[in-house]
């Protein structure tokens, strides 16, 4: 049950991603919420919107992030707002903050993923090649050479 509170005096404001958009099409607003305890995505609960983040890449394979740095600095510096992890990552990537450790972890995982995918493709290529050779060796005397 949501508590009725006066945002001005209650708790520590927090900056997080409010998920808008619809099913299969997420779209995030970087918003300032009165407190982490009050839940996030309820529009009435948003104090101020300080940016947007489109998680899906556009035709030029870019993910667009808009950040109102002036207001962001005010909430972080003046009002000592709490910042959620994805916003920290975004600020890290944008250069305002140091890179967030989670980005490094994400990068390492992706690199590992790519590496073993390559291994898999190399292995498949090798197998395919082996199969074709067997066919050549067995198939050569009886059938004509497959084009």
């Amino acid at each position: 049950m949501r508590k009725l509170v006066i945002p001005k005096y209650y708790g520590r404001p927090s900056i997080g991603l409010a998920l808008l958009g619809c099913t299969n099409r997420p779209f995030y607003h970087v918003c300032v919420f009165p407190d982490r305890a009050l839940g996030r995505r309820y529009e009435g609960n948003i104090l101020e919107q300080v940016g947007t983040f489109d998680p899906l890449p556009n035709q030029k394979n870019e993910k667009l992030v808009a950040l109102n740095f002036g207001r962001l600095k005010y909430w972080i510096g003046e009002r000592n707002a709490h910042i959620s992890v994805p916003v920290l990552e975004l600020l890290g990537l944008s250069g305002l903050f140091p890179i967030h450790p989670k980005s490094f972890i994400r990068a390492k995982d992706n690199r590992a993923l790519i590496a073993d995918q390559q291994l898999k493709t190399v292995a498949e290529a090798a197998e395919a090649e082996k199969i074709t050779q067997e066919q050549d060796s067995s198939g050569a005397p009886s059938t004509s050479h497959p084009q």
Binding site: P26, Y28, P57, P86
Partner: protein, 434 residues
């Protein structure tokens, strides 16, 4: 099916109700109306006499029963009873079932049906059955002058009556007819004819209308020069000039008149009585005849008539300048001519431009809540247009959109496009091959 043998009735005075009265006498009990009743107009309030013998034969019934002597020959040998039921095949039963309906349908077509060809909705006129409002072709030529490119419309056919001492109430049909060639020449008249002669009334009207032709100057051949106000009896007409392609937005009768005259773009507001079509036409035509072309206006005022069109950023361009009158200069100009030209043509009346009133619910709580819920979807219309314009989707049907989504999804699963993952997106868990 008449009985085959002449039926001889041996006893004549049988006390049998059905035999006492004949068919027509019995029907009279239902349909007779006394003399004074007929005067009071009660003749055809009774039900009509129905010709029963056309449908029902005595002794005929759905089951084919053969009564000896009635619809079957008398049989000498007595072993069989007087009644016997004949076997009927399937289709015979069906025929007999619909027998009555078939006879009734045949009877209908017999009636003289007015073979009226189906009119296109545009030419159907005002009511679809009458001639009022339909195109009536060219009026007959008058002493050598033929009106072949003219088009006439009948605006109104009504029955007027007049009480005379000899014949009492005499009814005459009067038809208001307007004719015109669609290029500024037009004429209207009222044709009269005795009762029930609507067509002759219209023909008389056409004849008279083709004699009373007037010419109307049209701006660019499509609309009126100035917004005018005209009134006749109790009908007040406010006409306003409209840009090209606007169409005719006015009283249905005025639409026909404008088609006859050749006006293509106009807005007319009729106030007062709108059903008095003669006063309406008279008011509208007097308004038109009082129009002034730009040349006449320049002559009368001795000034340049200047057009400022919005597509040219209201750059003044001379449209007409005085020829026979010398041009006035700033000093000789009266204070009156400095005023706005449009104010002079309404006899002191201005067109009523009421701002559209907001609906009563515009700031009720429910409506505001509805607008709050619709607010996130305000951009869908332009996004739809943008997507179709970039031919992402051929048509905005659900199948086409689903196909587009399917195609993009399939491209991502096969790896042509990188699967979007990262901040804010849930991990793609590969399907477990069990």
């Amino acid at each position: 099916m008449a009985s085959l043998l002449p039926l001889v009735q041996t006893r004549s005075n049988t006390v049998n109700f059905f035999m006492r009265r004949s068919g027509p006498e019995l029907w009279k009990t239902l349909t007779s109306v006394s003399k004074s009743g007929q005067k009071k107009g009660r003749r055809n309030t009774r039900q009509p006499i129905r010709p029963l013998n056309r449908f029902y034969r005595i002794g005929s019934s759905p089951m084919k029963v053969e009564f000896a002597g009635l619809n079957a020959p008398m049989r000498m040998n007595q072993d069989q009873g007087l009644l016997s039921i004949a076997e009927q095949t399937e289709d015979e039963i069906r025929d007999s079932l619909g027998g009555v309906k078939k006879i009734l349908e045949e009877k209908d077509t017999g009636k003289k049906k007015r073979n009226r060809e189906k009119l296109h909705p545009m030419e159907r006129g005002f009511s679809g059955t009458q001639l009022v409002g339909q195109k009536l072709g060219a009026p007959p030529p008058v002493d050598g002058v033929d009106f072949d490119d003219f088009e006439t419309y009948c605006l109104e056919v009504k029955r007027t009556s007049n009480m005379t001492n000899v014949f009492g109430r005499v009814h005459t049909m009067s038809a208001l007819v307007v004719t015109g060639n669609g290029r500024g020449l037009a004429g209207y008249a009222v044709g009269k004819a005795p009762i029930h002669r609507t067509t002759t009334a219209i023909i008389n009207g056409m004849g008279m209308a083709s004699r009373k032709i007037f010419h109307v100057e049209l701006h660019e051949g499509r609309t009126i020069y100035q917004d005018f106000y005209a009134e006749c009896r109790n009908t007040r007409v406010f006409a306003q000039r409209r840009p090209r392609g606007f169409g005719l937005t006015c009283h249905p009768r005025l639409i026909k008149i404008c088609e006859a005259i050749g006006i293509k773009d106009i807005y007319v507001k009729v106030e007062g009585s709108t059903k008095n079509y003669l006063a309406l036409t008279h008011a509208f035509v007097t308004g038109l005849l009082n129009q002034e072309t730009h040349q006449q206006l320049a002559e009368r005022k001795g000034l340049h008539v200047v057009e400022m069109s919005p597509s040219r950023h209201f750059l003044p361009q001379i449209v007409a300048s005085p020829i026979s009158v010398e041009l006035k200069t700033e000093e000789t100009l009266e204070a009156l001519d400095r005023l706005n030209l449009d104010d002079f043509y309404g006899e002191g009346r201005y067109p009523l431009r009421k701002p559209k009133a907001l609906p009563f619910f515009s700031n009720l709580e429910g409506h505001l809540d509805a607008r709050w819920r619709k607010h996130p979807f305000r951009n869908q219309e332009s996004t739809m247009i943008r997507l179709i314009a970039d031919n992402m989707v051929p048509r905005w049907t659900r199948d086409a959109r689903a196909a587009w989504a399917e195609q993009r999804n399939e491209r991502m699963t096969t790896g042509v496009e990188p699967m979007p993952l990262g901040i804010g997106l849930s991990h793609v868990v590969p399907k477990k091959e069990d």
